[in-house]
Symmetry: D2
């Protein structure tokens, strides 16, 4: 652990302290560490470092052959898929969450491909980190 | 299913067709449905409709009491948590993915609270949909 | 000016210092102040404080009556419009940049309305601040 | 102008029509054209095509030498700067809006550099288009 000083205008610091309380941080260092780490994770995705994340897809499982197709595609990308969690949102709708680890381009490609399938209503890609390069 | 006509400049259509191929869509209708659904999901989050999504957190499980804290918080929010998937990224780092369903404000609050904990390196919130109101 | 200490893991600090150099910051305090101010400006937009910003629109000025329509709308919103800058990008295309100051909802509404006009090719809304509440 | 048919579920179309009214579009074609053009502009920025946009900076002009520094930097980037609009927000705060046209990397670099200057409170970069490749 290293320690360094930060200078801040009094009013800016008061506003920052209010923000910290609203977001439940225990102290300023923790909040600042988080702001820095967010920037570093953005950088990992831009620079093509190995990353981790989650892909969500919402779909109606009654659609013919949709589940087969989703499974086929996941097998094509099995090198970057760690595991999949399946949730029955209601009688028709499923939420599938796919944990991924690999190159940013591959993760984006998998998210795009899943999203493009007829019957998939919505898809997202969470861009996170393997944590290896950020303390 | 309803059908309606769309007018597009020739060049814009050519560029759209190229985009469709790159993103693997099977046809124009499917690509347009997706663009529309994305806008509708954004609206659900803004207007406080019931939504679904995923929260990711990356952390070092060797941090003392961190796992306990993460579990405690998840219990406080158990009303909106459906299930949790835990992935061992390497010897130190874990990726935890929490499937949520509920009000946007609650989901954001849970994501903020998890992110604020000392030892959590990164957190994301995927804003998706219950699928109920989008075909 | 107030001064406080921040604790950071050695590796995280090294990565932060590299980021600071890449983004041309002169020191850590300045970079941290910027990260904090970005969060505060996001908050102003969410909480409906008075904000400032810029709306861009790209359009082909040869389109019949388009310029009239854009002018009419700007007059309807003159309460939040400070001034407008007009740039001839090429023989056909114009970039118009409208400086705005007012409530977030009004600024968004003006941006949406301009974007919706036939002939407007693209529109953006820069969400910035009046600077009054951030030092 | 070309015309093609789009198939949409009845409920999805009703929701889309509501969205169109809220955003003031005159018809479905115009709204769909806009969704498509937004995707194409994102692509221009990713693929390093020539783009246009606006950079905003908020600063306190009483800061010593700040105006000089901002001017110097703008001269270093004069190749991509078209013009600058200056607004006096209040006694202290200025909003400067710089219209740019050039490579995405250059525009981002200028925005980063301006943002990094001590005394600049906030900066944004609007990513728009030259309009040349989108009808």
């Amino acid at each position: 652990m290293l320690r360094f000083g930060v200078s801040l205008e009094k009013e800016l610091l008061e506003k920052f302290d209010r923000l910290i309380r609203e977001k439940n941080y225990s102290n300023r260092s923790e909040a600042i560490r988080d702001l820095i780490r967010q920037e570093l994770v953005k950088k990992e995705w831009l620079e093509g470092k190995e990353v981790a994340g989650a892909i969500t897809v919402i779909y109606n499982h009654h659609r013919r052959q949709l589940v087969d197709k989703l499974t086929d595609i996941q097998h094509d990308f099995q090198k970057i898929i760690i595991s999949t969690q399946h949730i029955h949102l209601d009688h028709d709708n499923c939420l599938e969450i796919i944990a991924v680890k690999g190159m940013p381009e591959e993760a984006k490609k998998l998210a795009d491909t899943l999203r493009s399938i007829k019957g998939v209503k919505h898809g997202t890609l969470s861009m996170s980190s393997t944590g290896m390069d950020i303390e």
